[in-house]
């Protein structure tokens, strides 16, 4: 019992029993907004970049750091803030430094205002920082309250030429650098790239078209029908020819359509894409074109390009340049294609001598593709739904769970 008391006397035993912490508010944060404007180089202008800043710091935190509550009545009024305005600025700006291309940009406080965030009143410090050179690399050092409250975070929003970037400063990341200009463009480019990859993986019609053309790549057409290819060289040459032709073709029409030089009604484009899949798969079962499959890939690739352009238009051009979007998206589509090929080619090559490949994969597979694409064709021509793609997705989900 005495031991029990001694544990209790530590005063926090019960605190540990309550695992659910029901806190009033979040821990301490400050909100820092920087808006960078590079001035076009004019010899008359002394500085080359102006940064406008706003820094919201909680009055409670400032009180804890430098004491605002002069009359100790547990309330902070506007007068108390005004009296300590200089101290607040001195304290805060000693803990923030801004460098443009490694040169310090001196900060000048311009105004103190008040605002309210979810956990109370904040002093709003407005300021400008002037940099000697045009800024392409901005580095910030943030140490506000770091010695008083390690759980404090500085939440930065950086604005530059209409782009926003956010970052969090804390004890583990006091110093952070931002590349202006290229950062946002690269981010945008990457997004389009990812969209492109996704589109080729999720747009079954493009995959099926490519597969239909590639199913015979590991086989050779002889007088005795389809025979397995003797070695890898003709196979890989055939694959490269087909894929390159498809890529060149859809890149041409994707560009033309995105630049709005050519426009086709999307329903007919979609129907033509379905039709191309039907023809490509039928050609395996009842061969008509054997030698020049790359030509088929090229001519129908032109139509698929229009399909891609519709997707790109749906994604919307997010403020940035058109070329960036086009190249990013197209590159994404190619990466997606290469991913599919690097799975398909080795497997089909290894299987090419088996009966399963010839009869099940090649013939039955081709016929299945004909059926699926035929259904799409009917859907798209008559604008009806035989099976919706969402149902397809649901089926996939169920399989994964089971």
């Amino acid at each position: 019992m005495s031991k029990y008391r001694s544990v209790l006397r530590s005063g926090i035993l019960l605190f540990f029993l309550w695992h659910v912490c029901a806190f009033a508010h979040k821990p301490s944060d400050s909100y820092l907004t920087l808006s960078v404007a590079n001035v076009d180089s004019e010899p008359t202008v002394l500085h080359q970049a102006t940064i406008k800043g706003q820094w919201d710091i909680a009055l409670r935190d400032l009180d804890y750091a430098i004491g605002l509550d002069e009359d100790a009545n547990s309330e902070i009024n506007w007068q108390e803030v005004l009296i300590k305005q200089k101290d607040i600025n001195a304290y805060a700006f000693a803990r923030l430094s801004i460098r443009g291309n490694h040169v310090l940009c001196p900060i000048t406080p311009t105004q103190t205002l008040i605002d309210h965030h979810t956990d109370g009143a904040y002093a709003v410090l407005k300021f400008t920082a002037s940099c000697q050179t045009t800024v392409s690399n901005l580095s910030l050092r943030y140490t506000l309250f770091s010695e008083l409250d390690p759980s404090h975070r500085g939440l930065l929003r950086l604005e530059y030429e209409g782009f926003n970037k956010t970052a969090i400063f804390g004890p583990e990341n006091r110093l952070q650098s931002f590349v202006l200009g290229n950062v946002s463009h690269f981010g945008e480019f990457k997004e389009y790239l990812v969209d492109g990859i996704w589109h080729i993986w999720k747009g079954y019609d493009h995959i099926l078209f490519l597969l239909s053309l590639l199913l015979p790549a590991v086989l050779v057409r002889t007088s005795k029908g389809w025979q397995p290819a003797e070695n890898f060289k003709p196979t890989i040459i055939e694959v490269l020819k087909v894929v390159t032709a498809f890529t060149v073709a859809h890149s041409i029409t994707l560009t033309l359509a995105t630049l709005q030089l050519v426009a086709l009604p999307s329903r007919w484009v979609e129907a033509a894409i379905a039709f191309s899949v039907v023809l490509a798969a039928l050609n395996n079962v009842f061969p008509v074109v054997v030698k020049y499959r790359w030509l088929v890939a090229f001519s129908f690739g032109l139509i698929h390009g229009f399909g891609f352009s519709a997707v790109l238009a749906d994604l919307g051009l997010r403020g940035g340049s058109l070329a960036l979007a086009l190249i990013g998206f197209n590159l994404g589509v190619e990466i997606g294609q290469i991913g599919i090929l690097s799975l398909y080619v080795p497997i089909s090559y290894a299987m090419r001598r088996t009966k399963i490949y010839k009869y099940v994969v090649f013939y039955v597979g081709s016929m299945l593709i004909v059926c699926v694409a035929g259904a799409w064709l009917v859907e798209r021509v008559f604008n009806i739904e035989l099976f919706s793609s969402t149902k397809g997705d649901e089926r996939v989900d169920q399989l994964q769970v089971i």
Partner: protein
């Protein structure tokens, strides 16, 4: 309907005004912020300790004293800023692999309170390696393991308490774990008897035990008994926010939102309680619910901006019940479930899974509940009700 709409528009305008642009206050005497009302004595105590520690930052005794004060303060005021101050007091030892035992226990507490459970457990294990008689470390360890759903290990930790603290605390620790782990009925009865046999217990411990008894009774489906335990706990005075939270959940479950409003009226600065308050307003179709929903959204947004995940259980409920966004709710509930696995976490997860079109989302959860023999009338009702759908 029209009245509701005007009411809503009015409230929306007020909320908008509250988050308007920065301004210059109209008068020098305008009060901008109320600081936590602490007595002069306690302010003086903090101030003198702070300045003494500032001049002697490596003084363990001072640091431990100040840290404990801050942790207590954070609990009393429900303000996590004090946990940051506490961490600052431990700065010279914070990054060390093997700080002194007293510091380790406090560091574990701070890590635990920001849901860094594994890091906290690592510290507690370091403590227990050196001092197997550290009751505090065993108890905190048991609590974390129970929250993580590691019942066997939690029970082992509880059993270590026998020689170190009162029988009631030890029993409560282990019976609470057993209760979640297939022994719902026996453990409830046993704990009830244990409390009855120790009437002169410290009221704080009584509140703790009564709250757990109420939760156990509710999980067993005995609404009358649960209500009685809750009332007894509340009547002991000064209910903490955990008790208020679970009691409000009980009342909401019983479709008694009116009582939640009067219970929590003065407690809405505390996020999880504001959530219950807003749910009650919403259940009664009061226009004020829109203001509180907006306020909650701002608070969750602010927490997200700083990368906080401490309130994911509440955030998931908020998305599900007040924003009607089951997909997002499920996403958050899954993240939360990866960290903590209490019945309340399972309820949010299951509710979100059943409300979303992803019928199979609940399958792994139900599997877990069955494997761990967690008995809960509310969970069972939800599962039975949707059995056809799953």
């Amino acid at each position: 309907m029209l009245k509701n709409l005007t009411g809503y528009l009015l409230w929306a305008a007020l909320v908008q005004a509250a988050y308007a642009a920065p301004y210059i206050p109209g008068s020098p005497n305008q009060v901008l912020e109320k600081l936590p009302a602490t007595t002069d004595a306690s302010i003086q105590r903090f101030k003198s300790l702070r300045s003494r520690l500032a001049s002697d930052p490596n003084n363990i005794e001072l640091a431990v004293k100040l840290t404990k004060l801050y942790i207590e303060q954070s609990r009393d005021e429900g303000d996590p800023r004090y946990l940051g101050y506490a961490q600052a007091a431990l700065a010279p030892w914070w990054e060390l692999d093997q700080p002194p035992i007293d510091i380790l226990v406090l560091r574990a507490t701070l890590l635990q309170s920001t849901h860094q459970f594994d890091e906290s457990l690592a510290d507690l294990n370091r403590v227990l390696k050196l001092d197997r008689a550290n009751g505090q470390a065993w108890l905190t360890r048991a609590t974390i393991l129970q929250v993580q759903g590691k019942y066997a290990e939690a029970l082992q930790s509880c059993e270590q308490l026998y020689a170190l603290t009162s029988e009631l605390v030890t029993l409560t620790c282990s019976l609470n774990v057993r209760n979640l782990n297939g022994r719902a009925k026996d453990s409830y009865q046993e704990l009830k008897v244990a409390l009855e046999q120790t009437p002169d217990t410290d009221p704080n411990i009584q509140i703790w035990v009564l709250t757990l008894l109420a939760e156990m009774a509710e999980r067993l489906g005995d609404v009358v008994a649960a209500e009685k335990h809750f009332e007894n706990a509340i009547n002991l005075g000064d209910p903490d926010s955990y008790l208020l939270g679970v009691y409000s959940d009980f009342l909401l479950e019983q479709h008694r939102p009116q009582e939640v409003l009067s219970l929590l009226k003065a407690k809405t600065t505390i996020d999880p309680l504001l959530l219950r308050y807003a749910e009650a307003l919403n259940a009664m179709h009061l226009p004020e619910s829109q203001v509180q929903i907006e306020e909650l959204r701002n608070r969750f947004d602010a927490a997200m901006m700083r990368g906080d995940t401490v309130h994911q259980r509440e955030q998931s409920r908020f998305e599900l019940r007040l924003m009607h966004n089951p997909v997002r709710a499920l996403e958050i509930a899954k993240l939360n479930w990866a960290i903590q696995k209490e019945p309340a976490d399972a309820r949010v997860y299951l509710e979100a899974a059943l409300a979303s079109s992803d019928k199979y989302a609940a399958v792994p959860l139900i599997g877990w509940l069955e494997a761990h023999h967690l008995e809960d009338a509310i969970l069972k009702k939800m599962i039975d009700h949707h059995k056809g759908a799953i």
